[in-house]
């Protein structure tokens, strides 16, 4: 979706502001929100693209006015509400009002290290040959799906060069809807002036990682 999360190249006033000696978390609630989000992945059963869509699929004013972990929290609440793991009246009341829904698995303290070590690899066995080779000229398609996508707006319609081939990976656009549909993944590199016109910096090259369905020959 063309949401406020898709920020590449958007004119944004003000400099990047690094914080000296920044703490990992800035408040106790951020710690808990972070940990609850990681832990709920197991009973919740959603995947990373469902999580991302639950976070980004909101009006720009909502997305931009929330802090990072407030967006995580809002995304988590949405995922749980959609699956009936919690209900709106429970969130409103701040306490459980209904019986728990049976879940397949939960995360125990003993299971934390293994869960983190396992992660969520997205590479799958190839079912077909790659359409593009390193060095090929490709154009990022002009698409505006209302659903989740990982093709940022700033490269759509532009021509780049295939620089790396990463194997076959789960396709986020369909994975957010519950279908892995794995396909070839490429790093495609664009010149600064191709992306930003004559005002672009010719000494800059920028790449995105793009699945085959995002690309056409150029």
């Amino acid at each position: 979706m063309d949401g406020a999360h898709d920020m590449g190249g958007v004119a944004w006033s003000g400099p990047v502001q690094p914080e000296p000696d920044e703490p990992i978390f800035h408040a106790e609630w951020e710690r808990r929100a972070f940990a609850i989000t990681l832990a709920m992945g197991m009973p919740g059963g959603w995947n990373i693209d469902m999580s991302r869509f639950a976070r980004e699929n909101r009006p720009p004013q909502d997305y931009l006015s929330k802090s990072y972990y407030q967006i995580w929290l809002a995304g988590l609440e949405r995922l749980m509400l959609e699956r009936g793991l919690v209900t709106a009246d429970e969130i409103e009341a701040g306490k459980p009002l209904h019986p728990a829904k049976p879940v397949a698995r939960t995360l125990s303290r003993d299971g934390v290290a293994a869960m983190l070590h396992r992660g969520g690899p997205t590479e799958r066995q190839p079912g077909c040959a790659a359409r593009f080779a390193i060095g090929d000229r490709v154009r990022a398609k002009v698409i505006h799906p209302p659903t989740h996508t990982r093709l940022p707006r700033y490269v759509r319609g532009h021509v780049g060069i295939v620089e790396l081939l990463h194997g076959v990976h789960v396709f986020p656009d369909s994975n957010a809807l519950g279908q892995e549909n794995p396909q070839w993944l490429y790093t495609v590199t664009f010149d600064g002036r191709e992306l930003w016109g004559p005002g672009g910096d010719a000494s800059v090259k920028t790449s995105v990682d793009a699945w085959e369905a995002y690309l056409e020959p150029a």
């Binding site: 590449g8 502001q17 690094p18 106790e28 709920m40 976070r55 983190l116 093709l151």
Partner: protein
């Protein structure tokens, strides 16, 4: 949009909004715990892991090894995920890592314009600025301007290469080894490696900056 911006630009709402969020998170944890979905002891361990074990010191050890051991450097640049796991770092948000090497003619910089993708096993959780709108918007269009925000510049003769992490590939910058460190142990070298130098928004420390 970030906690950082929030703190600096919305003072009027700050107190009540943050308190509201705090109460909401606390209530949510209670609901989820009582329903048996989460175990507070597991939550504590998740937090402890990312506050004390998984952070940029891991990445600094990888860089120091690459600076010291040419065979390791070659393995790292060829296929970073198994090379990094030789040091025991692997897993969530680092399932597929690519290491990119800075040279006098090429400066690499990593961003995630769409969210906050970052190589957790080697760098830990991303700082607020990395997740902020200014960085995510500007890094791909004006990376030299971003580097100026960080107080350094890359010569015009060098190419800047920006990696937007739009998939589950995580990019990790191998910075240039500072001059004057010949014969240093890996441990001493690791002390020179800053988090930002592994994102590409900073440089390693110089020998005179560490005791």
């Amino acid at each position: 949009m970030t906690g950082h911006d929030h703190d600096h630009h919305h003072h009027d709402h700050d107190h009540s909004e943050l308190s509201e969020t705090e109460l909401r998170v606390r209530a949510l944890e209670t609901i989820l715990t009582e329903k048996g979905y989460v175990d507070p002891a597991a939550l504590d361990l998740l937090i402890e892991t990312y506050e004390t074990k998984v952070g940029p010191r891991n990445g600094a050890r990888v860089v120091a090894r690459a600076w010291s051991d040419p065979a390791f450097r070659a393995r790292l640049l060829k296929d970073a995920t198994p090379a990094i796991s030789e040091l025991g770092y692997a897993g969530r948000q680092g399932e597929h890592i690519v290491a990119v090497e800075n040279t006098p003619r090429l400066h690499n910089m990593v961003v995630c314009t769409l969210c906050s993708c970052y190589p957790w096993p080697v760098l830990g959780l991303p700082p607020v600025w990395y997740k902020s709108a200014p960085y995510r918007s500007k890094a791909v269009k004006d990376p030299r301007g971003v580097l100026a925000d960080f107080g350094f510049e890359v010569p015009d003769s060098a190419e800047i290469r920006v990696w937007d992490s739009t998939a589950e590939i995580r990019y990790f910058v191998l910075p240039m080894r500072p001059a004057g460190t010949e014969g240093w142990s890996e441990q001493r070298l690791a002390d020179l490696v800053t988090r930002d130098s592994m994102i590409g928004t900073g440089l390693p420390k110089q020998p005179h900056e560490v005791a």
